[in-house]
Amino acid sequence: MKINVDFDLCESNAICMQIAPEVFEVRDDDFLYVLIDHPPAELHAKVREAVDRCPKQAISLAEDLPAPE
């Protein structure tokens, strides 16, 4: 799984961070940082929930992309 965020759409509301803080972080500068581009399997469920709940539909996933070796 590979995470892509469209930063033109993202409004840094940190909803994704509430759901998956291991992966998404909105810092005090009000920008979103993706901490892990290729999240491990145990985080997939949370990441998918973050995708659904992002009101700007800013997060997309390439589900079948494995992490590079």
Binding site: N13, A14, I15, A45, R53, P55, Q57
Partner: protein, 404 residues
């Protein structure tokens, strides 16, 4: 699932994620795969986005959920006893479990049948309205200063069109915001060149050759226009359920777990249920995030109902979300968590700089809501604090700017 939109799609996705591997059918009367409505009044109407961009992520690959799509097909009746759904096309459909997410439709006025007069709820509505905007009309009249009306007015101004917004109440958004925030919205639109007329109703519309020419107001004045947008709220889509035995009263009445009848759950704009967090009077919520959260919840409720595993049913707490919505107008992001009251205090930023957070207190001084104006992060933080039952002092301290 009946209703192929936000709540219905989320329910389908949740069923699959939670391991349901039986047959799923999605019945939707619109011809389109599920799309996102909020951009209809914003990016799409502005001309910045095309249709492809509106598709909901979960429906990007329609085959991914392993369900049968029955698009362009309306549910026309429900037999609870026989567990059968009647359809506008083809034979009736039997079910073990039913999720109703038929949403709501725009309320109309006499005159809505005229060319040039629009409502905005569906993609087809948005395509028609955008085509009229593309024609460069001299004047756009927006009837109703609710969220849809206010967003359409903002987008029309951004497209350089002359706009008059008419509202029968004395402030915009009076139904959903406190008075001073409503006044701030009126000021925002005036500052952007909208002719805002408050406290005056519309008495009718005139036409020539089938196309609207004038909107008549109750104060005797008239506005000449070729494009009118009517944004006066919505009515839940329950007509097809008349006589089914479900309780229909401003939506489908459910229990506190979104159950409407044995084996039937409802979610999204169409569902009315008691949220114990707010005293338990049944209400409907017309908000994007609620449709998602409730769609997911309703799917789990149904799985619990159908399951023989007693733990599944008892594990499920009643559905008691903290409401939250956003509205983007011009360069302003306006978000409300919880419920507004007339007792408010600004705890972050200032109204002058147009970036602030204010909290709402109820009569007992309890923290019950927050409005964030160009402060999206604090809106979500406030929602979390409300969910945790934070005190007013706590909310004040945590929502204040971090010390430098």
């Amino acid at each position: 699932m009946v209703g192929a939109s936000l709540a219905g799609l989320q329910a389908a996705q949740t069923l699959r994620r939670d391991g349901f591997d039986g047959e799923l059918t999605m019945v939707g009367d619109e011809p389109h795969y599920p799309y996102d409505r909020p951009p209809l009044s914003k990016h799409f109407l502005a001309g910045a986005w095309e249709e492809e961009k509106l598709r909901l992520r979960a429906a990007a690959d329609p085959d991914a959920l392993g369900l049968t799509w029955r698009l362009g097909t309306a549910a026309t009746g429900l037999d609870l006893e026989a567990k059968r759904l009647e359809l506008s096309e083809g034979p009736a459909l039997g079910y073990d479990g039913l999720i109703i997410a038929t949403g709501a439709a725009a309320r109309t006025l006499p005159g809505c049948e005229l060319a040039g007069v629009h409502v905005l709820r569906t993609l087809d509505d948005a395509v028609a309205l955008r085509a009229d905007f593309d024609g460069g009309p001299d004047h756009v009249v927006v009837i109703g200063a609710g969220f849809i009306g206010a967003e359409v007015a903002a987008t029309a101004r951004e497209r350089g069109l002359a706009v008059t917004m008419i509202e029968a109440a004395s402030v915009p958004l009076g139904r959903v915001l406190d008075r001073s925030s409503g006044e701030a919205i009126a000021d925002l639109h005036r500052a952007n060149g909208v002719d805002v007329r408050l406290g005056v109703g519309v008495s009718g519309m005139r036409s020539a050759g089938g196309r609207v020419t004038h909107v008549d107001l109750e104060d005797g004045s008239a506005i000449q226009t070729s494009v009118v947008v009517v944004g006066i709220g919505v009515v839940p889509n329950v007509g097809w359920l008349e006589g089914s035995g479900l309780t229909l009263d401003d939506g489908i009445l459910c229990d506190e777990t979104c159950l409407a009848a044995p084996s039937v759950v409802a979610a999204g704009d169409v569902a009315r249920w008691p949220n114990a967090r707010f005293g338990g009077a049944p209400s409907r919520v017309e908000q994007w995030d609620n449709a998602i959260e409730q769609g997911a919840y309703a799917a789990r409720r149904l799985l619990a109902w159908l399951s023989t595993d007693p733990d599944l049913a008892t594990d499920l707490a009643p559905f008691q979300p903290v409401p939250w919505f956003w509205s983007d107008q011009y360069d302003k992001k306006i978000q409300l968590a919880g419920i507004p009251t007339e007792t408010a205090a600004v705890v972050h930023g200032s109204v002058q700089e147009q970036r602030f957070v204010k909290i709402y207190l109820d009569d007992a001084g309890l923290f019950v809501g927050a409005l964030a104006w160009n402060r999206p992060r604090q809106a979500i933080q406030a929602r979390q604090l409300l969910a945790e039952g934070a005190s007013a002092e706590d909310a004040r301290a945590k929502l204040a700017p971090a010390p430098a």
